[in-house]
């Protein structure tokens, strides 16, 4: 299960609130939110600026533009957020082990 790092620098809002807001971003293929899927590696809040470091299920994922846009849309609606940056990273690579137990269950892992 991914352990998301939350970093705050004189934050306008708690990083945890940002992370919870990201649960509204759904992977269109898997039908689950990106937090439960373990795609969010780090959330940094510096004042009103938010940077989300995240990954996708596979490099070259054709849905990345949509997911990235949704992150910006969702966080853009959160009070206190002035600017949103999304950094896609591939190290460490995403594996199904990154998912929460509920997400694994929803996809029929067990």
């Amino acid at each position: 299960m991914t352990e998301t790092t939350l970093t705050e620098i004189l934050p306008a809002l708690p990083a945890r609130n940002v992370l919870e807001s990201l649960r509204a971003v759904i992977d269109p293929e898997l039908g689950l939110d990106i937090v439960s899927l373990g795609m969010v590696y780090e959330v940094t809040v510096a004042g009103g600026n938010v940077v989300v470091e995240m990954t996708l299920t596979t490099p070259g994922c054709p849905l990345h533009a949509s997911i990235e846009a949704d992150v910006k849309h969702v966080l853009g609606q959160v009070p206190g957020v002035e600017d949103v940056g999304v950094e896609l990273v591939w190290d460490p690579p995403w594996t199904p082990d990154a998912m929460s137990d509920a997400a694994k269950s929803a996809l029929g892992f067990w």
Partner: protein, 444 residues
């Protein structure tokens, strides 16, 4: 830089249109077979039969392969397609060329139609190959799957060029004297070099992705490439040096097919998504036809074996991936850069684009039709031929209906969302009670 569909690949309308044409070609072929059911029991490869086979290979599989090549390389190689607008040239050339070839065969191997068709399809595939190589040069792929995909397109181009030679040999004694009439090489290049290797290459990546598997073994894909390539070298030697090397090519091809079977079994066994989606189930089921084809070869039933491999294995595998690739392409084209956002803004999930009831119809009708072809070729029973054709017709119609439904549903959903961004999320699959662990670190 990451590729974006519609930006990194071709304009989405190009591959989507090509994929739709491919699905339509299968239905047209099945309908034509309904009017010529007796060709299945005639026991010989009549012009009608050869025309129908090319409707399947050039029309159905070829167009879907060409459509996929307008996007898949960008995703697999993680780069941008070299010439995104090339499809504006190649797709019409493939459509017209395939039609000309099919008409040429159906009209009794008419040389002019065949040559015109062969020139157009050869030109299109040479251009598509050049595009693929130019794309690969931008970011040379190191994984075996991508390399197998490239090699398969090389062989597919050789296949159509070999078809061009065959067409030329029919009218030019000089060509016939120089190259003979290498029908068997043409068949092996197409069925194994192009189709099997194409499925090996693209399938490893796609199946791993859709099954949430940690990926298969690179060595098996490389072994499949090596074995199939060696088989084609052997067959080329036999065709052009006019020597016989016994069953060597067949054994090498069987080895290549075995590698694919083992690879799919390994990915399937290691998958973490236990219940695969229906199109992916169809892709996996397709592989059951490979051992059947091998058994039919051992029983000296080459026509039935070819049917099992082409219609059963290749047909079902391509059909499964067709539905998945189309839904990805259309969804991304409509929603990726939508002002309202993706799923958050109300876009449907990919699985919501499918009509669930059509999937088992497509799978079992096409699988039943492929099995029926084998039975008909072995027994020659007219009743079996009729049932086979009806099954293929139902499967092809169901498949086309599904692909059309995906396109129409997505476009309609996109239009309904053509409004300013919503103030609140409309869809959520949030599981707050079991979210991932978090750790907080506060900087000064």
């Amino acid at each position: 830089m990451m590729p974006r569909l519609g930006e990194g690949g071709a304009p989405p309308a190009l591959p989507i249109g090509t994929l739709l044409m491919g699905a339509l070609a299968l239905l047209v072929g099945a309908a034509a077979l309904l009017l010529n059911t007796d060709t299945l029991t005639a026991g010989v490869n009549s012009p009608t039969m050869v025309a129908l086979v090319h409707t399947f290979t050039l029309g159905f599989v070829g167009l879907i392969f060409a459509g996929t090549l307008q996007q898949l390389p960008a995703v697999m190689f993680v780069t941008k397609l070299a010439w995104p607008g090339l499809g504006y040239v190649t797709t019409p050339a493939l459509l017209l060329g395939s039609a000309a070839v099919i008409v040429g065969f159906a009209s009794g191997f008419h040389p002019t139609w065949l040559q015109v068709g062969a020139v157009l399809t050869s030109l299109a595939w040479i251009l598509l190959l050049a595009q693929l190589l130019a794309t690969a040069l931008k970011r040379p792929p190191k994984d075996a799957g991508s390399q197998a995909l490239i090699l398969s397109v090389v062989f597919l181009t050789f296949t159509v060029v070999a078809g061009f030679l065959l067409a030329s040999a029919r009218t030019s004694p000089g060509v016939a004297q120089a190259v003979g009439y290498p029908v068997r090489l043409h068949l092996t290049l197409g069925i194994f070099g192009a189709f099997l290797l194409g499925i090996v290459g693209s399938g490893q990546k796609l199946l791993s992705m859709f099954a949430l598997s940690k990926g298969g073994a690179q060595w098996r894909v490389r072994a499949a490439m090596l074995l199939i390539t060696a088989a084609l070298v052997v067959e080329s030697t036999e065709a052009f040096a006019r020597v016989s090397l016994g069953p060597l090519a067949l054994l090498l091809l069987a080895g290549g097919a075995l590698m694919q079977l083992l690879e799919v079994a390994a990915i399937h066994r290691r998958r973490l998504r236990k219940k695969l989606e229906a199109p992916i189930q169809r892709y996996v089921l397709a592989h059951a036809f490979m051992p059947l084809a091998g058994l039919l070869v051992l029983l000296d039933q080459p026509r039935a074996a070819a049917a099992a491999f082409l219609v059963g294995f290749v047909g079902l595998a391509v059909s499964g991936m067709l539905v998945k690739i189309t839904s990805f392409l259309v969804w991304t084209a409509v929603f990726a850069n939508a002002r309202s956002g993706g799923v958050w803004g109300g876009a449907p999930l990919l699985r919501d684009l499918l009509r669930d009831e059509l999937e088992p119809v497509t799978t079992w009708a096409l699988a039943g039709g492929a099995l029926g072809l084998c039975i008909t070729f072995v027994t020659g029973l007219p009743a079996s031929a009729t049932l086979t054709v009806l099954l293929l017709l139902v499967g092809a119609a169901s498949q086309l209906a599904q692909v059309a439904h995906v396109v129409i549903t997505t476009v309609r959903a996109g239009r309904s969302l053509n409004r300013p961004a919503p103030a609140a999320p409309v869809r959520s699959a949030v599981m707050p009670e079991l979210g991932p662990e978090t750790s907080a670190e506060e900087a000064p």
